[in-house]
């Protein structure tokens, strides 16, 4: 419980110095946490993940990783940079961004190669991971030949092969069919069961009970509108409605249309 991985204090971030993306965010993520960053479109979830992955740095406020303040200059130190990249992995929302090599195999091994893993170790991890993800037959394919679901699996593999302590996921099931979503959720759950930290940005309430024990809600002001356990947040209908997260179902009863909010009972 008292083992913080990330601590953010009053973190603000703007794009090009004028478009605000995060506004005075204070959060804490502990080792082994399973957290969801829940928010409607444009509330800064992806930006926050980029800050946690040290791709962006706050304009104001501070962020620390395992007690050490993160700032851009720190990443000029190759030893620190490598150590951080080995411990934190981000799966981007758009798999086309993440799959930039000519073949699937080259994409998966890209991370460990840059981070200096031994080649035998990389080959072993590649074998194991492709078996688990059921993507062995895709290894020599080109990324543009894959379906969206296959691309998502390969993106996940390209990060899981590093075996990071913290896995950051940006909308992991967006655009996937139910069977592929199921497979990915099971894999993420297995990853967390091994004591790893999982932080997921999403607006899909259906997957939240499986992906999170703790939830932070981000609002239109790009700040934290609410925090609590999965049960507390999903039962707070007002909070969800205020933040454009409540599902309103419309269906027919006895020949007339009927609307009601959809509930997401926590598992």
């Amino acid at each position: 419980m008292n083992n913080p991985i990330f601590e953010l204090e009053n973190v603000s971030f703007t794009y090009l110095g004028k478009y605000p993306a995060l506004n005075s965010i204070s959060l804490r993520f502990n080792k082994g946490d399973k957290v969801a960053l829940l928010g409607a479109n444009g509330t800064g979830k992806s930006t926050l993940l980029h800050i946690l992955d040290a791709l962006f740095f706050p304009d104001k406020g501070r962020i620390s990783f395992c007690g050490k303040d993160l700032h851009e200059k720190l990443f000029d130190d190759e030893k620190f940079s490598r150590g951080f990249r080995k411990r934190v992995g981000l799966v981007f929302q758009n798999p086309d961004v993440q799959l930039f090599c000519p073949t699937v195999k080259e994409d998966i091994v890209f991370g460990p190669l840059q981070l200096g893993f031994a080649h035998d170790e990389i080959k072993k991890r590649l074998d194991d991971l492709t078996e688990v993800l059921d993507i062995k037959d895709l290894l020599n394919r080109q990324p543009h030949q894959l379906s969206v679901g296959e691309k998502k699996k390969v993106s996940l593999a390209s990060v899981l092969i590093i075996e990071p302590e913290v896995l950051l996921l940006d909308e992991p099931t967006a655009g996937l069919d139910p069977a592929t979503s199921r497979h990915l959720l099971d894999l993420i759950d297995e990853f967390h069961a091994r004591g790893k930290t999982v932080i997921t940005a999403t607006h899909d309430l259906h997957i939240v009970p499986e992906l999170a024990e703790k939830i932070y809600i981000l609002n239109r002001e790009r700040t934290v509108a609410g925090a609590g356990s999965c049960e507390e947040i999903l039962e707070d209908r007002e909070l969800l409605k205020e933040n454009n997260l409540a599902h309103i179902h419309k269906h027919r009863h006895d020949g007339s249309w009927h609307k009601h909010p959809h509930q997401h009972p926590p598992i």
Partner: protein, 229 residues
């Protein structure tokens, strides 16, 4: 008449994109078991590189023609349909040749003829290489021949994202078509086209930034490393 004209533009755009994708991305011929396909990619690359160099240095049109005929012969023995091969060559040759050589035709006809013949021969050999070798093997050959990894990676990434942008152009065309319905005034058409070119440029810049972030996130520090197999 209007409809025919409109269909002509549509066919041109779609056929161009299809042809471009087929030329660059489908490896049907590279997978066939035949003469050029069975040669080592390193030997093919080095051999064709030397032939291209030789062609550039030649001034005798007959000698260039002999090299061109040998190329056609190799294409035939590699089970590439000659019509298919000529179509692909003719697609790329004007891009390199016509606009540069056109003014020369009026000044020095012989020079322009040799110039176009050189380009036709060089392009044909390069297309023969591309058709008979899968691009991943070609990139590996470049690596093995000592081409710096950063160049090989850049070529690989260009190849990867050209396909993505060809799809974006195709989808954008259909999105415009689905909303426009009939024929558009040419001035408005120019406006739509120029706006979309600008949009594509912005998209490519954004993608470029995001891909670099994805590389940094996985430990890239400016010197790409590859798996030795």
């Amino acid at each position: 008449m209007k409809s025919k004209h409109h269909n002509f533009i549509q066919r041109t755009i779609i056929n161009f994109l299809e042809f471009f994708k087929n030329s660059l991305f489908f490896e049907e011929h590279a997978l066939r078991e035949s003469f050029m396909q069975n040669l080592s990619p390193h030997i093919k690359f080095l051999g064709i590189f030397l032939i291209v160099l030789l062609t550039i240095l030649m001034k005798n049109i007959l000698a260039i023609a002999v090299l061109y005929l040998i190329c056609l012969l190799f294409a035939l023995t590699s089970r590439i349909e000659i019509g298919y091969f000529l179509k692909r060559t003719c697609f790329f040759v004007p891009i390199f040749a016509v606009f540069i050589a056109l003014p020369a035709f009026f000044a020095d006809f012989n020079f322009a003829l040799v110039f176009v013949a050189r380009i036709l021969t060089c392009v044909s050999w390069v297309i023969l290489l591309a058709l008979t070798t899968s691009h991943t093997k070609l990139l590996n050959a470049l690596r093995c021949l000592g081409i710096p990894q950063i160049f090989v990676m850049t070529i690989g990434m260009c190849y990867r994202y050209i396909f993505l942008f060809a799809e974006v152009i195709e989808n954008t065309y259909f999105a415009i078509k689905s909303r426009v319905g009939g024929r558009v005034h040419y001035k408005h058409g120019q406006y739509i086209a120029s706006w979309n070119i600008a949009q594509l440029w912005n998209k490519s810049l954004e993608l470029n930034k995001q891909v670099y972030e994805a590389m940094l996130s996985r430990g890239y520090t400016g010197e790409p490393k590859v798996l030795n197999e």
